[in-house]
Symmetry: C2
């Protein structure tokens, strides 16, 4: 294996643990026998970015967008050739961000919808932040590939948010009882599979070793990033 000229830019920090897990996935999924087989990457972990869901739902999108754009410009200026953003909610801003840079930005939501399509499932559960759900990111992407998005009712959506914010983002292990309630709902609602559409839930997936029923958007993004940088997936 030879070193390619690609440099992966990772716009992260949303949250830091999810970014670290994403970087770990990149390492683990790359076919490599020595340091030099891995891809070169620059990770900007901007923990100061305001909360994405809070910004979108309050109409105060400006500070979030501005911080994301500064991050994109930093990665572009440093020579990155491909950008990955391991935060589903932030993808609300990706079409605008893409217009501001010539460096291709991988679209985690659309890539995940394609991965879901390949499973053949018709009804697809979506576990994500209020920001991701209310902006319809996954609903639109799934509709585009002929699937129906199923989102939790308000009470269970609060459970999703609690798992993300009270547990994972607070540095605690995810509460299995919370996830069990979501799992029951998804199966009762006839979902053929479900998307882990928040990277904090991707962190939880590793803790809880969730079955393949759960399609992990972070995993999809990691694989696309590796392939996009000219590397091979580990067997």
């Amino acid at each position: 294996m030879t070193q390619s000229n690609h440099i992966l830019g990772i716009l992260g920090g949303m949250g830091p643990q999810a970014s670290n897990t994403f970087y770990q996935r990149i390492i683990a999924r790359t076919a490599a026998q020595r340091d030099q087989d891995h891809l070169r990457l620059l990770l900007w972990s901007d923990a100061a970015i305001p909360d994405r869901t809070a910004g979108i739902l309050s109409g105060q999108e400006g500070p979030v967008y501005d911080a994301l754009l500064r991050g994109i410009k930093l990665l572009e200026g440093a020579g990155c050739t491909l950008i990955a953003i391991p935060c589903n909610t932030s993808h609300y801003f990706v079409p605008r961000l893409q217009q501001e840079t010539k460096v291709p930005i991988l679209h985690m939501i659309r890539e995940t919808a394609v991965a879901v399509q390949e499973t053949g499932a018709q009804r697809v559960g979506v576990l994500a932040t209020d920001g991701t759900i209310q902006t319809g990111l996954y609903q639109k992407a799934l509709e585009a590939v002929g699937c129906v998005a199923v989102t939790p009712p308000p009470e269970l959506q609060r459970t999703v948010m609690s798992l993300i914010y009270d547990d994972i983002k607070s540095g605690r292990p995810g509460d299995g009882a919370k996830f069990a309630a979501l799992d029951r709902f998804l199966h009762q609602a006839g979902c053929g599979c479900a998307i882990l559409g928040c990277t904090e839930l991707s962190v939880y997936r590793e803790q809880a070793q969730l079955p393949p029923y759960y399609i992990d958007a972070m995993e999809v993004l990691a694989q696309q990033a590796i392939l996009g940088c000219g590397k091979t997936l580990a067997p």
Copy 2:
């Protein structure tokens, strides 16, 4: 907790797994309740940097130094206010690198020697790459704090290198039998403690849950980086 203006630059990729573990330590050791409590950091994971030990021992230091200097300049140009290099062997180049930048570079070797001094140990084992051992990095730093460095005899030094290169850098779990031989030697040699002076061994420390007898240079660096960026250590 308020967001400080510090940005930690991490010059990594030597190897990628060690850099990821270092980033994980930074997250885990920072007192934080939400994303925005974490520090901002920029991690340049330059997997293409030639092997440090091979470069130093063959007299071909130039390509290694040049790659490290480019990394330092990248971090400086992006606004980093403090730099950490989670690779012990690379510290052979740090005095020269520091002359090329106004951004302070934490010196993992010297900081670790200070941490060792606080244990009161007189004889201190050093487990590190051939490059780190043969350049005397830890021997000099330990002598400066009044301790005696104890390094493994050639056969056991080959065991250290095998644990680092054949196991951890190759993406495999560390072989416990190899480490057990090193552990026996250190105790028989009368060492009061031993330094894990290669960040691949810091990765192994987590796998094997090594006791506090082993002073982990990466852990020292992580704590100094957090404090140096104006953050508080988690209780």
